[in-house]
Amino acid sequence: MLQSARTPGLNLYTYSEVEDVQGFVGNFTVKVRKRARYVNNDCNGCGACWEVCPAYGYNEFNEGLDSRKAIYSSFAQAVPSLAQIDMDRCIKCELCKAACELDAIDFDQKDEIIEINVGSIAVATGWDEFEPPTGYLGYNKYPNVITQLKLERILAPNGPTLGHLVRPSDGKEPKKILFIQCVGSRDLNMNAYCSSGVCCMISIKNSKLIKQHSPDADITVAYMDMRAAGKDYEEYFTLSRKEGIKYIRTNVSRIKEDPKTHNLKIVMQNTLSSGGLKELEFDMVVLSTAMVPAKGVESIQKLLKLELSQDGFFKEFHARLNPIDTKIPGIVLSGASQGPKSIVESIAHGRAAASSLARLMGKDKYRILLIRAAVEDKDKCAKCGLCELNCPYNAITINDDGAEVNEILCRGCGTCLANCPSEAITLRYYREPHYEKQIDAILMEI
């Protein structure tokens, strides 16, 4: 991140949102709203302000395990290293302003709208952890049922517990831990897809980390399938089994909590053995939830007029032959925005996206086919707007003198022609008489 911030010619707009996108490949006009931090660029991230701030807020970075102040830095390695004020939490005592030696705090700062011209767009909106409904497998109900991201923050050396494995209910170190795979994924009631084996590997990794931390931990992973497809993945999985991590093939349907100890009791059956049902008790349960599209992705979809696939991620040009481009020339998908994938795959996909755009922008010309819709007789056009409405590529606009086709966005599908009640719009090289003659010729023999 730091390297990108230091790259000359690369403009980084953080704490910002894309508000409007107009235009087409080579000529996009994008409006970016740079939200007010109430801190200007004189800030060097020293933290004198948040030391004195009396107000607290939910620490999103640490998954709510601890709090942060109303004036805070997103996380220690944030780029740029600036503070920001959460105005919902700020009590306007201005103690931060008094503490700041660089006079960087500005309560009068406003949002700024910046207009930029770009030739192409890469959508890299990433993913979020699926949030199970409250109570599902004890999520958001039993304190010792947590998700993988929460576990990652607990295990992180710079996290709220400084890397000590503690469980939320009493701060004790959990010894008997269960990982439940495929929570909210491979599930017709929630998300039908599999998160591409990412959560399988995360469980193996976190289990090994816990074992490293406390070798006497008793870890079980409840799985449907262990998807360890990738370089060195199967070997990693075998290694984890050698370390004593147990893998049980079972679907966990219900978790009960012991209200006194906050331990979790689960009745499960190892489907690969003839042992039958067993009730097991765990100190902590970790849910491997599905990877879902990032929150707020609907606004980007509307702005760019992109399609979504069945799984809710952005739709690629072709699922097998081109998972990088979209149906809109000049807009590509990068990383998990296109679908759940691991770090390895995200890097490959991201570089493919960059390469696709470099190919596009590296040339000084953009070639299009001539098979395009055209309004050849504007008098026939009644400006009903059916062509504009039905065009899958948003290539038509209705002006005062009739419909106008953007030849770069148009893909020559002919949907506008089929919908036009006045026969005003036509498709070059595929006009009506062309087909009429073919049909006549074929049926002449009859």
Partner: protein, 44 residues
């Protein structure tokens, strides 16, 4: 597409190549029926 899936169809089915099924209009289909065709198949 019938070719790509190697589907077999009778010789009485005459193909007309189009660039996209969006291009097929009701008037074209009715013209075919009017000229003597028993039916029209719009394939992917």
């Amino acid at each position: 597409m019938a070719g790509t899936i190697r589907a077999q169809y009778p010789a009485t089915l005459r193909p007309v190549r189009i660039n996209c099924t969006g291009r097929v209009t009701p008037s074209l289909m009715m013209r075919a029926i009017g000229k003597g065709a028993d039916g029209v198949v719009v394939g992917a």
